[in-house]
């Protein structure tokens, strides 16, 4: 059986959970077995995971699991995997997923690959998977030969697919160990899709000349329904908050669309965004290195181009 840990946040599944179940369903098909999902804590609508291919949904509804502790979560997931006889355990390569993938590999004596971005190839007892490495400059393939394998799936690697009906939900009685950490406070920026999960991102850099000029970027993002991001110099100068910084030292993202405005495209910036599906670069300097990594480019004054692009998106949205 393939067991997918379906992550939730504040009682709701994240998109990453649907992607992971889709991945688990396809992996189970390749192995000729079933896909089950595991849900921890207080979560609504657990049966919806059936749509993405989970035959069974195991729910451990202990509310102490609403607070994340990598040790507690890994212990519970590992115990469930053992009880259910899972051959493959799949997680999201999210902040929480990253904190438990390694623990699970230890607990389950499993081979593991974190951050895979394509479906596995089955060769007997061996599972081969690929991931992007060296800042997107190469793809590496790994083989796992243990009886249990652990994988985490990079977000936005494959779209969630609806393949089934309602899944059967069963409660699973697994003791939850006491946590040795205490969550004191959670701060989240409300109202926007967090950057690691955003499908559309509008990002701007030093070409904006100053923080007072950001209104046109925000307006574009608003019309498009995109999340805003920025380059490192902009975050370091406190023109924009640090959580918007994408790139090697900031966060790495792979949205469907990345619009880079007034960003030259230093390699450290590209390292965080070059896995985006489509890249649009807007820069007045035709020699900006970012154009080499772009799908579409606009050479022009961003203060003129951005309002025109916003207007064009507004017309497009009005028609569609």
């Amino acid at each position: 059986m393939v067991l997918v840990f379906a992550e939730s946040q504040k009682g709701q599944f994240k998109k990453a959970a649907f992607e992971a179940v889709t991945y688990g369903y396809k992996t189970a098909q390749a192995l000729g077995t079933d896909c089950a999902a595991l849900v921890l804590g207080t979560v609504n609508g657990t049966e919806m995971l059936g749509k993405y291919g989970a035959n069974r949904i195991y729910h451990i509804a202990d509310s102490s699991l609403d607070q994340f502790d990598s040790q507690v979560h890994a212990t519970v997931v590992a115990t469930a995997a053992q009880q259910l006889g899972a051959q493959v355990v799949i997680l999201s390569h999210s902040m929480n997923g990253k904190a438990i993938t390694g623990r699970l590999a230890v607990r389950l004596n499993a081979g593991s690959v974190a951050g895979v971005n394509s479906l596995p190839v089955v060769e007997g007892n061996v599972l081969k998977v690929k991931k992007s490495v060296f800042s997107g400059k190469a793809i590496a393939e790994f083989a796992m030969n243990s009886s249990v394998k652990v994988l985490s799936l990079t977000g936005n690697s494959l779209p969630p697919e609806e393949v089934g009906g309602a899944g059967m939900v069963e409660t699973l009685a697994i003791p939850v160990p006491a946590s040795r950490t205490t969550v004191k406070d959670v701060k989240r920026i409300e109202g926007t899709v967090p950057l690691p999960e955003a499908e559309l991102v509008v990002s701007a850099g030093r070409g904006m000349k100053g923080p007072e000029n950001w209104a046109i970027v925000e307006e574009l993002a608003d019309v498009l329904g995109a999340t805003t991001a920025c380059s490192r110099p902009v975050a370091d100068a406190h023109w924009r908050p640090h959580h918007e910084h994408v790139g090697q030292t900031g966060i790495a993202i792979r949205p469907n669309l990345y619009i880079a405005i007034g960003i030259s495209g230093a390699i450290q910036h590209l390292a965080g965004v070059n896995n985006s599906r489509t890249i649009v670069v807007i820069n007045k300097d035709p020699e900006a290195p970012f154009f080499k990594a772009a799908d579409y480019g606009v050479v022009g004054d961003l203060f003129e181009v951005i309002p025109k692009l916003t207007e064009a998106f507004r017309e497009f949205k009005a028609q569609s």
Partner: protein, 246 residues
């Protein structure tokens, strides 16, 4: 406080990646290797700040061959007291974690630091593995840390925000941007680093379940399509009809 900082060697971000003829390894000719920035800039420096505030020792640990000594000396030049190199090729996250856990097991470190991930494989697994092997709490992606006695309050990055977590030492922490400010080694530090102890320890045997099959290079990106800045309707049309992203 007894602090251990795990450091990795990675190719510099600006390195051009080429493969060996059989594509089973990197062509290391001309590859510039550095200390993994998250290990050096944030994990090591936060450990040094703790030592400066409360006293103690900062030990570096690296799993790698003798050629890693140069980058380990850089960590000593930044201010670590001593270093340990486990004399082996780091073949997988599990291999590295097992070596470090075996070394740290009976050494009573209060805090084990490492970067949130390495910039080459970005797996983020080693910290979680060490914590599991040593039965310790693990706080990942830490962007702020206060230590009061043996109680730490840590801000950890989550999607779209941060979470404040309280934990008692001993624990494992992985460092993100914000945990500390990068330090450049000065001449005195570089001179002192030459005489600081760098112990070489032979590895333990580890059964490995994950192996690297090989590499491929991504398909070259087709040339950028330039759009007339006065025709943004055309760009929107292409994003909708050709790229299918809006």
């Amino acid at each position: 406080m007894k602090l251990l900082v795990c450091v990795s060697k990675t190719p510099d971000t600006t390195t051009k990646i080429a493969l060996s003829a059989d594509a089973k390894a990197l062509d290391t000719n001309g590859v510039q290797y550095i200390l993994n920035p998250y290990d050096e800039w944030y994990a090591l420096v936060r450990a040094l700040e703790l030592k400066e505030a409360q006293g103690g020792t900062v030990t570096l640990i690296n799993v790698g061959p003798v050629t890693n000594d140069a980058i380990i000396r850089k960590g000593l030049a930044i201010g670590a007291d001593d270093a340990v190199r486990i004399n082996a090729e780091p073949t997988s996250a599990m291999y590295v974690a097992q070596q470090i856990a075996a070394f740290a097991k009976d050494a009573a470190y209060d805090v084990i630091f490492l970067g949130k991930e390495t910039i080459d494989y970005n797996g983020s697994e080693v910290g979680a593995m060490i914590a599991e092997l040593l039965d310790m709490p693990f706080i990942s992606y830490a962007s702020h840390m206060d230590m009061n006695g043996n109680i730490a309050t840590i801000a950890r990055d989550i999607e779209g925000g941060t979470e404040a977590v309280e934990v008692h030492a001993p624990f494992v922490i992985s460092a993100a941007k914000g945990l500390a400010e990068q330090r450049i080694p000065n001449m005195k530090g570089i001179m002192m680093a030459k005489s600081k102890p760098l112990a070489v320890v032979e590895p333990i045997a580890v059964e490995e379940a994950t192996s690297l099959v090989g590499y491929e290079l991504p398909k070259p990106k087709s040339a950028v399509k330039l759009i007339d800045p006065d025709n943004m309707g055309e760009l929107v049309r292409l994003l909708h009809e050709e790229a299918k992203v809006v």
